[in-house]
């Protein structure tokens, strides 16, 4: 049984090439986007990509937490995969943190116009929101959230690796289940209070500072969680194709496919709930968000978003056979991740650089992040055995039947 992952040279090369593309794009962007208007796109592109990719690797921690707390045994067979993906959280979170601090402390008012103190004074709405949208609160909250995410991710991973040197007795099994339940429960509280409520308001929604939608955070969560599930599926399939994870079969893939299917629909539910209420009420302060997206230049992207993220997974993943087919799942996972990247693009773009542009810069940076994720994940996969052999639910995972 191949239980120890060795990074294949090809994967390493791919990750370095992608990271190279990302760095090159960053450099080109630095020179291409000069001046007042130009630099907006540079920073907005970085903000879009770093939040998106941080949140989709964080979705792996959420995956571990949710399935552990629900006492789901099926995921144990490939649990080291989401664990390895989640270990990218501290690194990507660090990049995101540096970026946000640059935006806030160099006063990028073209991204976050609530940073303009002079303007806020004469703006009753922003003035009222000032306790929340202020440098102090933004910085503190960002440090706490990214810090707690990284801590819990690191802790869950550490506990899991530590358990490999334990034994298989019933008492040990109980201990493993109990302490995982406690720690994942703690993480979920943090996760719901951050990704589920305030963090996307702070990082992304405050681009359109006058506008607000309570649905926004859940919408962002749904977007990143479905892409996160797709990312886990991609790595599981990659390992499976290379002869690892012998206990994982199409039954497990089927369940990952169900996650992609179900949460694509959940995303649409939130998308629609946010859109319809605003459309129905038709109040100027609310439709300001949808005006450039539905009736402006971004109209094609707005509807393409719905097509890629709802219609495609709905029709494609509806059949049982596609969820159990490795190639079909690779295809749809890539489509889902790209689709939600597009979703983040139309969340950030219209509020910052207003005009619809060909997203070569955003896409290049995105490829860089993909390379970084591949690099980090493959390195982390080598650091532990691929099967947590002492976990009491391992047998349940092996005999899993959908």
């Amino acid at each position: 049984m191949k239980d120890q992952f060795v990074v294949p040279a090809r994967l390493k090369t791919t990750s370095f090439v992608l990271m190279g593309i990302g760095l090159l794009t960053l450099l080109i962007g630095l020179f291409a986007f000069q001046g007042e208007q130009g630099s907006t796109r540079f920073w907005a592109g970085l903000l879009q990509n770093s939040t998106f990719f941080t949140l989709i690797v964080l979705a792996s921690t959420f995956f571990i937490a949710a399935t552990t707390l629900a006492h789901g045994g099926w995921q144990i067979g490939f649990r080291r995969v989401p664990e390895a993906i989640s270990m990218a959280v501290p690194v990507l979170g660090g990049i995101l943190f540096i970026l946000l601090m640059i935006l806030v402390f160099t006063g990028k008012t073209d991204i976050y116009h609530w940073l303009d103190a002079e303007h806020v004074k004469h703006d009753p709405i922003l003035n009222w929101k000032a306790p929340f949208l202020s440098k102090g609160f933004f910085t503190t909250a960002t440090i706490i959230t990214i810090g707690l995410w990284s801590f819990f991710t690191w802790k869950l991973r550490k506990m899991s690796i530590e358990e490999d040197s334990w034994d298989l007795s019933a008492a040990t099994g109980k201990k493993i289940v109990w302490r995982n339940t406690v720690w994942t429960g703690g993480f979920l509280v943090v996760f719901v209070l951050s990704v589920g409520s305030t963090t996307p308001w702070m990082w992304l929604m405050s681009i359109d500072a006058h506008w607000y939608s309570t649905m926004y955070s859940w919408y962002t969560f749904a977007s990143t969680w479905v892409s996160g599930a797709a990312l886990i599926a991609l790595f599981v399939i990659y390992l499976k194709r290379n002869g690892y994870l012998p206990m994982v079969n199409e039954e497990h893939l089927h369940d990952l496919g169900k996650f992609c299917f179900a949460f694509s629909i959940f995303w649409t539910y939130l998308w629609f709930s946010q859109y319809m209420l605003i459309w129905y009420a038709n109040m100027p302060e609310e439709i300001v968000y949808f005006k450039p997206r539905v009736w402006g230049e971004w109209r094609p992207i707005f509807f393409l978003n719905l097509l890629i993220n709802f219609i495609t997974p709905l029709l494609f993943l509806m059949k049982r056979d596609t969820k159990r087919n490795y190639s079909a799942m690779v295809f749809i996972a890539v489509v889902i991740i790209f689709g939600h990247w597009l979703d983040f693009w139309q969340m950030v773009g219209p509020g910052t650089y207003h005009h619809l542009v060909f997203p070569w810069f955003e896409f290049g940076i995105g490829l860089g992040f993909v390379g970084l994720i591949i690099f980090l994940v493959s390195n982390n996969l080598t650091k532990a055995a691929l099967v947590p052999k002492n976990h009491p639910y391992l047998k349940e995972s092996i005999v899993h039947h959908t």
Binding site: Y275, M276, W279
Partner: protein, 198 residues
């Protein structure tokens, strides 16, 4: 409706049942059905049953619901009785979506329940023969059809050898009938055997 002969065996363990199903199939006998007190994962594959077409039916019902809702509302609000509701256009697609969704779910759900009942031959008053009183309690019961080529005595011995607990032969109605269990015997030319552990 046909009265047929069956050789019936009961099992008290999944771990015995699965290999038994496999061996019976390999030996070439025709399994009529296996009755279990709870859904046994993987038994359908072990028995070689084809995948259900229930989900395809569900998709068709769902699409029917979507079409019904959208076409009905569009017709009403654009040509039959156009109304001005809150200054919205006469074809307000977002407002139609919740109702379209509900009707899709309703059509799919009701249609699938009815189709499920049809596929399983279930309806109020419809009766089927119960091979063993404990098949819904704590035993797995396998019924094998006795065809022209089957040697019943040999089959009984075979079933005992692979772990069958109570092996007997029953001449019963294979399909469903409409009526009462206490009048079941009218259907048959001979009485069915008494359950062994009654």
């Amino acid at each position: 409706m046909a009265v047929k002969n069956f050789v019936v065996a009961s099992f008290d363990d999944e771990a015995v049942l699965f290999p038994a199903v496999k061996k019976v199939r390999t030996a070439g006998y025709k399994i009529h059905d296996v009755y279990t007190p709870f859904p046994v994962h993987g038994l359908d594959q072990a028995m070689g049953l084809r995948e259900t077409s229930l989900h395809t039916a569900g998709f068709v019902y769902g699409i029917t619901g979507t079409t019904t809702a959208l076409s009905c509302m569009s017709w009403i609000f654009t040509s039959d009785w156009p109304m001005n509701i809150g200054g919205k256009p006469h074809f307000p697609l977002p407002a139609f979506i919740p109702i379209t969704f509900e009707l899709t779910v309703l059509f799919a759900a009701v249609g699938m329940v009815l189709t499920f009942c049809y596929l399983c031959q279930l309806a109020p008053g419809v009766k089927k023969h119960i091979f063993h009183a404990r098949q819904t309690d704590d035993l797995f019961v396998m019924a094998i059809e006795v065809t022209a080529k089957t040697n019943a005595a040999e089959l009984k011995k075979f079933l005992t050898s692979i772990g069958g607990l109570e092996v007997n032969e029953q001449r019963v109605e294979a399909g469903w009938w409409y009526g009462r269990f206490d009048r079941e015997d009218r259907l048959f030319d001979n009485k069915q055997p008494e359950p062994v552990n009654a």
